[in-house]
């Protein structure tokens, strides 16, 4: 079966129709769990596994707030391997390169299903090669929250890395030697899993305003270490110095200026990449020059946004995860730095998720096609290299969605006639900013009208593609293997695209 974007949908899944189709569906919510019995404390994951009855075929969920410094997923995997458990379904919100140990469990069928929002590193390679027995399910951050609350992703045990836990079983991300700040991605797991296990390396007497209230918690495992705090600073969290990246960022900022988007009370989100932060830097300069105060910035928060908050350039920050240690400190100490759950952030079924209040969002792309569909899930050879995360959620919610990317990377055009994998539908993508020109989605005639007399280098996207071909010539089309190894779920749970095994 094909969906509305003419992408293959495996049997048993619902096809993507449109980004707004979810509006006609009712919000489904299973009852929130509530545990009022005594919380059990364990000194090892293995003891907890045995006592709590984790067995073959169960679904275990995890969050990724410790990012590339997380050890809870890895240590859990070791216990699974040691106990010889089989056919488990792992549902971490993301998988990072430091989780490479999962690969052998996938190959040995300890883990046969995975649901996640983002993955790269060795596990991504293993799954790309077809080793995962069942289909990989890729969700969005908001989609995962929806899926968990609806019971679609039914979690037997949420095993949640928790930087500090008190004697009552309350947990927080703000304290402890591995403090990671906001714990937004884990909130749906906390509320709707059958059992919740907090895994910590720091026990304190009392936690005020815990992100994880003890009423949801069944057990606590206290380990010598849950990871490496410095590992949360993964990826690029500094403004790019690359001239091409800066040129793109400067043009994106000029575009925002010409669209009149930098005005009192505006809201924005960017990724943590160097070019995105450079856009934020140009925006910051405009704000300072014109005494503009925005209402909020949101998303994963970096030191850069913390600094803007301190300068009074935003009234508040909405933080779903901290990208660096400055953000962790600010989240703990600044009353205007708020946590948000992944549901409050981007769940399409929420009455008013934060993404819907964004004036604009700056996002990246691995590929973008002539219909403005964006791929951030695979490379052009079908290797898994990422995933939506909040890409589709913010793209749909924001009033203007801007993709910033080099037109050519490693001699390959980023614009394609058709993206290898569709992550975010073109209907939700408004503008593409590259170093050689800006393309506006023809569906946004309002933006085109506003920019009619602009001095910006605005071109139809097919002209940018022609420009690419003049420089790189037309790349040979990669023929993918016919075997489907996974699906990309849009935020409403429908299938926007399938994932294929890499060509051997």
């Amino acid at each position: 079966m094909k969906n509305s974007l003419q992408r293959e949908v495996p049997v048993g899944f619902k096809p993507f129709v449109s980004p707004t189709a979810f509006q006609k569906k009712p919000r489904i919510m299973i009852p929130e769990k509530n545990t009022n019995h005594q919380i059990v404390f364990f000194e090892s994951l293995e003891a907890m596994f045995k006592e709590m009855g984790i067995s073959d075929g169960m679904t275990l969920s995890f969050h990724h707030h410790l990012r590339n410094g997380d050890e809870v997923l890895n240590q859990t995997a070791k216990v699974v391997e040691k106990m010889g458990l089989k056919n488990l379904h792992f549902a971490p919100s993301s998988i990072f390169p430091n989780n490479a140990c999962l690969s052998s469990l996938i190959k040995n069928k300890n883990i046969t299903s995975i649901t996640t929002n983002y993955l790269n590193g060795d596990v991504a390679k293993t799954i790309s090669q077809g080793y995962l027995e069942n289909l990989l399910i890729m969700e969005t951050h908001g989609g995962r929250a929806r899926s968990i609350e609806a019971g679609e992703l039914a979690i037997d045990f949420a095993i949640l890395a928790t930087p500090a836990v008190d004697c009552m079983g309350n947990g927080t991300g703000s304290l402890g030697k591995n403090a990671c700040g906001a714990l937004g991605y884990a909130i749906p797991d906390l509320k709707f899993s059958k059992k919740v296990i907090l895994v910590t390396d720091t026990v304190v007497d009392k936690i005020d305003n815990p992100e994880f209230p003890h009423s949801y918690v069944d057990a606590v495992v206290v380990l010598p270490s849950i990871g490496e705090q410095k590992g949360i600073v993964s990826g690029t969290t500094k403004i790019t110095t690359d001239p091409v990246g800066l040129k793109i960022a400067r043009d994106a900022a000029k575009l925002l200026h010409e669209l009149g988007m930098i005005k009192t009370g505006f809201s924005m989100q960017t990724g943590a990449g160097g070019t995105s932060l450079a856009v934020a830097d140009f925006v910051k300069k405009q704000m300072l020059a014109q005494n503009i105060v925005g209402s909020f910035a949101s998303g994963g928060i970096t030191a850069y946004y913390v600094q803007m908050l301190k300068l009074g350039l935003f009234e508040k920050l909405y933080d779903v995860q901290c990208f660096d240690l400055e953000a962790v400190t600010s989240y703990r100490d600044n009353d205007h730095h708020f946590a948000m759950s992944s549901s409050e952030y981007g769940n399409p079924m929420e009455p008013n998720p934060i993404v819907n209040n964004l004036d604009f969002v700056i996002l990246g792309a691995t590929e973008i096609d002539l219909d403005f569909n964006v791929n951030v899930t695979t490379d052009s050879n079908n290797w898994l290299i990422g995933g939506s995360g909040g890409h589709s959620d913010t793209a749909h919610g924001a009033k203007v969605t801007i993709i910033t990317t080099n037109l050519i990377k490693s001699r390959m055009p980023i614009i394609k006639e058709r993206v290898t994998t569709c992550t975010t539908p073109g209907e939700d993508v408004d503008v593409l900013v590259t170093e050689r020109g800006i393309a506006i989605n023809p569906k946004r005639q309002d933006l085109l009208a506003q920019l009619r007399n602009s001095r910006l280098n605005i071109k139809p996207i097919d002209e940018l593609l022609t420009l690419c071909y003049q420089i790189t010539s037309k790349p040979q089309v990669v023929v993918h293997d016919k075997k489907i190894i996974g699906v990309v779920k849009y935020r409403d749970g429908t299938i926007i695209d399938s994932l294929y095994q890499v060509k051997k």
Partner: protein, 285 residues
Amino acid sequence: MRRSLLFIPGNNPAMLQNADVFESDGLILDLEDAVHINEKDSARMLVSHYLESKQTHSLEMIVRINGLDTPYFQKDLQAVVCQQLDTIMLPKAKVKDVLDLSKMLDEIEQTKQISKEIKIIPIIELAQSVLEVNELARFPRVNGILLGAEDLSTDLEIERTKPGLEIIYPRFCVIYACKAQKIDAIDTPFTDTKDEQGLSKDCETAKMFGMNAKTAIHPNQVSIINDVFSPSEKNIAWAKRVIEAKKKAEASGLAVFSLDGKMIDKPIIDRAINILKKAEKFQLL
């Protein structure tokens, strides 16, 4: 008419690929100081292919060849002079060098049947060149002169500083020589690529003295240089009003008129015309 010229090492394919996106008015494809002696041949080939690939371009294409006191310049010229090339930049230029280069270009243009005159930008990098700058500016092919303060400081045995007090004299020499011949006075590059404020200040100083343009040694310098050397929005608005008032005055048979309580006569009208010409050239209207 130039504001910014960006140096690109001739032996760096990745930089060449993106060289034309930074909105400089011209590119200086460098075969001289940026290219190690072992890479002179490959750089020459790369620059030659790059120029040939630019069938249509809006940027001025300049090649800085090796000096006429080196064994490389003849091969440089043979490789890079083509229809797509606009200008040769000549290091450590003296009058005799520019004369020789002009003759060589005459011959190569004829041999290669090039349908335009390749221009020359001499670089003032020697004390002798400073003394000869008025003569250099008079050569028909010369349409701009670049001050090369780093090499000049070496020749003068002085230390370069950010405020640039030590180069005031050669700066003015270049400016007056160029202005007398109505060609571009191009300022020396600002070498601290991380000091944006310093660059901006240096551009303002150069502009105040009379420089028309500045060279950039890093793409991130171009937008700052363009900002300073472009007519400001305020100046463009003023120039438009002057021209509008001039038209009305002419209709009334007046050669001199007033605007905002100030007398407007020919020098001011010429200044306004010049601003609007620049604004049009740099697509600021």
